[in-house]
Amino acid sequence: MNKVARAAMKIVQPLIDAFEERTGLIKMMGDLARHPVPPDTGWWYVFGSATLVAFMIQVVTGIALSTSYISSSGDAYQALQFITTQALLGNLLRGMHYFGASAMVLLVGIHMTQVFIMGCYKYPREFNWVTGVVLLFLTLAMGFTGQLLRWDQNAVWSIVVGAEQAGRMPVVGTMMAHFLLAGKTIGGATLSRFFAFHVFFIPAIIFAVVGIHLFLVMHDGISEPPVAGEPVDPATYHQKYDELIEKRGVPFWPDAAWRDVVFCVAVVIAIVVLAAIFGPPKLGPPPNPSLLARDPAPDWYLLWYFALLALIPHKMTTPVILLAPLVGVIVLLIVPIVSNTGERHPRNRPWAVGAVIVIVMMIATLWVEAIREPWSPDFTAQPLSAGIVGVSEGPIANGAKLFHEKGCEYCHQISGNGGHRGPDLSFVGDRLTKDDLTIRIMNGGYNMPAYAGNLSPQDLEDLLIFLGSRRHPGSAASGGK
């Protein structure tokens, strides 16, 4: 140590000592950082701290954004445009807030899965699993309310969709919907309400629950990696755990924490790099509820649920809206009640591993479908070209024109053009007779409107001729199957 440093320490050290004598904070922080943890925790244990880091990024970027954001229904859109296009590093900051949110949702899901797969929620850590479940839903609530603060047309219509879902609740549904809207219509009070939820109410609860979560981590100790054939027995667990810590425990800092640091820094770098490369989600048109050219959809982390509502039988919509979240919460909460002892190692818990695989596959499948949106009419479909139709005049050409004008093409595809809501009709002439087609067109079906009364006899005839002409090359020239 050089002379200057020694001289500086002579002045600073007494101040540090005086501070420590009066607060004890330095010793307390040191004890916390160096508390003994089980050995060999490895890289599986980094996701909890990474989730916390993602949350802290959300807090600091959110605070910075709030210095320019205006939580006024009439001004927020312009404020967002200013932040995105004019404010110094505003675009990057919005991007960091978006990718930070995505990271938080992703990491909380991975953390929860890891805790479940490794049986870390079992005795004596059942209550910490419960606080984790609460944090999972608070994180999703932050995601949804945050998406709405991106106050464009998608946000406005997403609020209406959210209010409609709340409105499905029996007895108090309409009241809940109006509570979300902060009135009976979208208006001046709506954004302020969601801003307060996103910035004050929910974060305050998250801070409190994270505090309890971390306290319980310290109180119960970090769960030791599971060993196959060593089940959890409440009668002996504490004795075994204490012996493990006493004999082989290592200080959290730095023996175990270095992996958390490495992974958390990687998360931060990933968030900043993704924000710099891709930027924040583009702002849509202004939040004018009288503009209807919008297909509102939630951000990616709730998109799978939107797909679920599209794919279930229509009569199941209300039960699913009301019961699915409730069942999800209940199932997650009773996990540590029905299974808080026994094997922890995934090798000996095939049902647990199977459940995770099924849930992940289900959500992934719904995500893929949500990106395709096959249930959504394709309003961008253009009239079929003469090359596809095969002729440019006559009944077949007129039928093709009607196929577009009457909206058939929004839901049915022909030769790669059109929507996916209904069956592909590229070769419908091979599989349906003229009578079959007539019945379907005139009577409609589950998702299809009945066109009886909406088509003149001549239009129907032309449409039938056109559809009958949609055949594989080389099949019979006319008449259908």
Partner: protein, 176 residues
């Protein structure tokens, strides 16, 4: 004074511990007072938050346009203002309806919200159908369900012709 309190002053000699009855009383008193304080703070907060639910929603007829300007049989999108927009509502105070002049001369105003999840439905004039972009709900021109997941017909707004002017009565966002 050191941190272990070796120089701490002795407790006053006459101070006796509370009796069990008195201790139970002061516990109840303290908890009650805390509950009272919490209620004093919470009541105005909760009242403020649920205020929009009990605020009277005024019925206001908004003029849309002269009746003669609407063609018979045509369905058009019309927009109008909320009944009591806040000064800072901006464009969010706007709302819309699909207005049709029936052959009888009567007007029908449909809400733009799909009855499935509230998404904005579009009118396809050539197909004579309303279609919802979200989950493919379809309605006939009279608002009845033609296909897809909507559980009920499109909601309608009260509409009238007053001194030759078409007027729509402002209404709440239609909820299930």
């Amino acid at each position: 004074m050191t941190s272990d309190g070796e120089n701490r002053a002795p407790a006053p000699a006459g101070e006796a511990p509370l009796s069990p009855e008195r201790r139970a009383f002061v516990v109840r008193l303290s908890l009650g007072l805390m509950g009272l304080a919490a209620a004093l703070v919470a009541v105005p907060i909760v009242g403020f938050l649920i205020g929009p639910l009990i605020r009277k929603f005024p019925d206001i007829w908004r003029p849309i346009g002269k009746a003669e300007n609407f063609s018979v049989g045509k369905t058009v999108l019309v927009s109008f203002r909320d009944p009591s927009p806040m000064a800072w509502a901006g464009v969010t105070a706007e709302t819309a309806a699909w207005l049709r002049r029936d052959p009888s001369g009567e007007f029908t105003a449909f809400a733009v919200n799909c009855t499935h999840l509230g998404c904005p439905v579009r009118w396809l004039p050539d197909a004579n159908l309303f279609m919802c972009p979200c989950h493919g709900g379809v309605y006939y021109s009279d608002g009845t369900v033609a296909g897809g997941p909507p559980p009920r017909p499109l909601f309608q707004y009260p509409v009238r012709v007053n001194n030759g002017m078409v007027e729509i009565r402002t209404s709440a966002v239609p909820i299930g």
